[in-house]
């Protein structure tokens, strides 16, 4: 009988426990990133690790994203299992050449001889008025690259377990974590550990409308679902979790059941994850559709500094409720 007790924990704490477990179970695993050691991590996720594991396994790196991400890839080539922390996805643009031209491509160019078992963690998303250069949502860009597995930790359970499974993968995995969730508390089973990184997950069963989302969209959609339930609308919530390769099956089965889809994401609307999901629904579940697929995405503007504008630039809980009502009432 699994242990039924649960644990009230912040998203940050869940990330920390996951990484701690990884460092203990495999001595080839080491963490490298800006301010991960002495500073305890830009978001205090690796606080105390330097004291516990020492400089050799908790490496502070200079501000050379291309350099240290490339070095992480090199170390993975030569037998180590590095966790490369890029402080935020906003700084990862400098390391894209290493990530795309080396990590994602070496297996193919070498005709299958060379594996790159590197895990790259990046804090992402919007929140706390960090303005345009510090509030990017680059999931769609990374999800476009064959050779990279892209996962999005939208819940505490995934924050706790995705890293462990990613470290088993022979291929490069990029994990998106979210600043806006760090301080949020939630219940998770105290026995929770590694989780799969292949499938989407139905976070709430429902029959009237399928809401497909990822990242911070998950908890917002769940909150919206409670409000909708009180007006008799039963929505199904799909947490994509894996943005490449995408789990078509879960999506198609849900559409076949509800016949209506609302997609929610914070990234900019054009050429986004929602664009890809809509294409796949059109290709595989066209005859299950009773209405056009709707979507709520980031407004196409560099994220503004003032709070009221920042909040208006991405879908909020109430937007999800309003859209769902419009789609159902219309029926």
């Amino acid at each position: 009988m699994t242990d039924k007790t649960t644990l009230k924990i912040t998203y940050r704490e869940a990330l920390k426990q996951g990484m701690h477990e990884a460092l203990i179970t495999n001595d080839k695993v080491f963490l490298m990133g800006e301010d991960v050691g002495r500073y305890g991590g830009a978001f205090a996720v690796s606080k105390g690790f330097l004291e516990e594991f020492g400089e050799d396994r908790i490496m502070d790196v200079p501000l050379s994203e291309s350099g240290f991400v490339g070095a992480g890839i090199g170390a993975a080539l030569a037998g180590m299992r590095p966790i490369v922390e890029v402080m935020t996805v906003n700084f990862s643009l400098l390391a894209l050449d290493q990530i795309i031209n080396n990590a994602a491509t070496l297996l193919h160019m070498s005709g299958g001889q060379i594996n790159v078992p590197v895990v790259i963690r990046m804090n992402s998303g919007i929140g706390n008025q960090l303005a345009a250069q510090h509030s990017h949502s680059w999931e769609p860009f990374y999800a476009h690259i064959p050779g990279l597995k892209i996962v999005s930790a939208g819940t505490h359970e995934d924050a706790r377990g995705m890293l462990l499974t990613a470290l088993e993968s022979p291929d490069p995995v990029v994990i998106f974590e979210y600043t806006s969730l760090l301080n949020m508390e939630s219940e998770i089973p105290s026995s929770s550990g590694a989780v799969d990184i292949d499938k989407a997950k139905i976070r709430r069963e429902g029959k009237d409308l399928s809401i497909i989302t990822y990242g911070p969209g998950v908890y917002k959609a769940l909150a919206a679902a409670e409000i909708l339930a009180s007006s008799g609308i039963d929505v199904e919530i799909i947490d994509l979790r894996v943005l490449n390769p995408i789990d078509n099956e879960t999506i198609i089965n849900s559409v076949a059941k509800t016949h209506k889809v609302l997609i929610v994401e914070e990234a900019w609307r054009s050429v986004s994850i929602s664009s890809e999901i809509i294409s796949r629904i059109m290709e595989n579940a066209f005859f299950s559709l009773d209405a056009p697929v709707e979507r709520l995405c980031g407004i196409e503007v560099p994220i503004p500094y003032p709070k009221h504008l920042e909040d208006a630039s991405i879908p909020q809980k109430q937007d999800i409720v309003d859209s769902a009502l419009k789609m159902i009432q219309n029926d």
């Binding site: 005859f287 559709l289 009773d290 056009p292 029926d331």
Partner: protein, 385 residues
């Protein structure tokens, strides 16, 4: 001898202009020597030769622009025979154009959700009669469910009409097949008269010894005789679809006329392999179902040749119109008493007029008449059918 050709220096190099030869015929060159200057989009490039020998002939003149691969000079190799290796160009597959241009055009067609359209088709609901309540006035599942429910209640008075609908459908189907046949198939007609005395006598004897339900009708003999004749002249049992395609199975389409008009043609599969009793059982099954319009579409589509047999009620002769893509149709008239002259004597005999309408693209007169003669012979030996 060796052909010195315009070299390819890059995948995007189409041609080159010979600016200057560094050698003249009679000169000896060795591997790596620069023998010409060629101008390209990238600028002037020195061209080296990879073979040894004496320049025999400079074909391309200075200032001339030639595509990659053009023979520019002939070199006679030193002593040993150098086999002029055949230049195999790697075939460049065109990169399949995957992108489908989506054109945004304002679509004023009926707006129906894919789900609604699918259910409407399954339940045979006419979309044009429904008002849509979905987005932009589109018809959605709810509207179809409503329409289907209304239809169920009024099921009673609708069934009568079902036959009308089916009959109306049948009429249009026959009309289109017939006009296609006339438009495309060059018909020619052959006719003969067959003495049915032996056949009918045999039939009477046969039926006498059997119970009522096992009695055979004359038409069964006609079908079996036709099947046997086809084995002798197979080209009547074929399709014409840009060229003659002989059919090995002999599926005889048997025209069943409906009292209210229209004709349905169930196929008797492999008639040649069926006994007379089996053929009779088939007719007992097919004809009533044909008249009630309950034949499956597969039963209607496999005939390789058709027999037309206007209910023996009226005309003596019937000239058929071929059902495409078949190439022949056999018409049996009524069996009537007629004068029959034979060996100088005149007598009254039961006679059937048989016509063959055939597609001149597939069959010609000689084969058509050989087929009818075979049919005549078969009916003279009913016991062998």
């Amino acid at each position: 001898m060796i052909e010195f050709t315009m070299p390819s220096l890059g995948a995007d190099m189409e041609d080159g202009t010979l600016v200057e030869w560094r050698v003249k015929s009679g000169d000896f060159v060795k591997r790596g020597d620069i023998i010409a200057d060629v101008d390209t989009q990238k600028g002037l490039i020195e061209i080296e030769v990879f073979d040894e020998g004496t320049i025999n002939e400079l074909i391309v003149k200075e200032g001339e622009k030639v595509p990659v691969g053009t023979v520019m000079a002939i070199i006679i190799p030193v002593g040993e025979k150098v086999s002029a290796k055949k230049k195999s160009r790697i075939k460049k597959e065109p990169i399949k154009e995957m992108v489908k241009e989506g054109s945004i055009k304002v679509d004023d067609r009926l707006k129906v959700s894919p789900l609604a359209k699918k259910i409407a088709e399954e339940k045979g609901i006419d979309l044009s009669a429904i008002k849509g309540s979905g987005p932009e006035g589109s018809i959605i599942k709810k509207d179809i469910d409503l329409a289907a429910a209304k239809k169920a209640e009024s099921h009673v008075e609708v069934t009568g009409g079902k036959k009308e609908i089916a009959a109306k459908g049948l009429r249009t189907a026959i009309a289109s097949a017939m006009s296609k046949s006339n438009r495309e198939i060059p018909h020619f007609y052959l006719e003969t008269r067959i003495d049915m005395t032996k056949a009918l006598n045999w039939l009477r004897e046969w039926n006498k010894e059997r119970e009522l339900k096992d009695r055979l009708l004359a038409v069964v003999l006609l079908i079996k005789a036709t099947a046997k004749a086809i084995k002798e002249v197979p080209s009547v049992n074929a399709f014409w679809e840009n060229g003659l395609q002989l059919k090995n199975a002999i599926n005889i389409g048997f025209a069943v006329s409906l009292r209210k008009g229209g004709v349905v043609i169930p196929a008797i599969p492999e008639a040649d392999k069926k006994s007379l009793n089996q053929l009779m059982d088939l007719l007992n099954d097919l004809i009533p179902r044909a008249r009630a319009l309950q034949l499956r579409s597969s039963e209607l589509s496999e005939s390789t040749i058709t027999i037309s047999n206007i209910g023996e009620g009226s005309t003596d002769k019937v000239f058929g119109v071929i059902y495409p893509p078949q190439v022949a149709i056999l018409g049996f008239g009524n069996i009537v008493e007629e004068a029959w002259a034979e060996d100088g004597k005149l007598s009254a005999r039961p006679v059937v007029h048989v016509t063959l309408a055939a597609d001149h693209r597939a069959i010609d007169g000689y084969l058509g008449s050989r087929f009818l003669m075979a049919l005549k012979r078969n009916l003279q030996k009913p016991e062998a059918l």
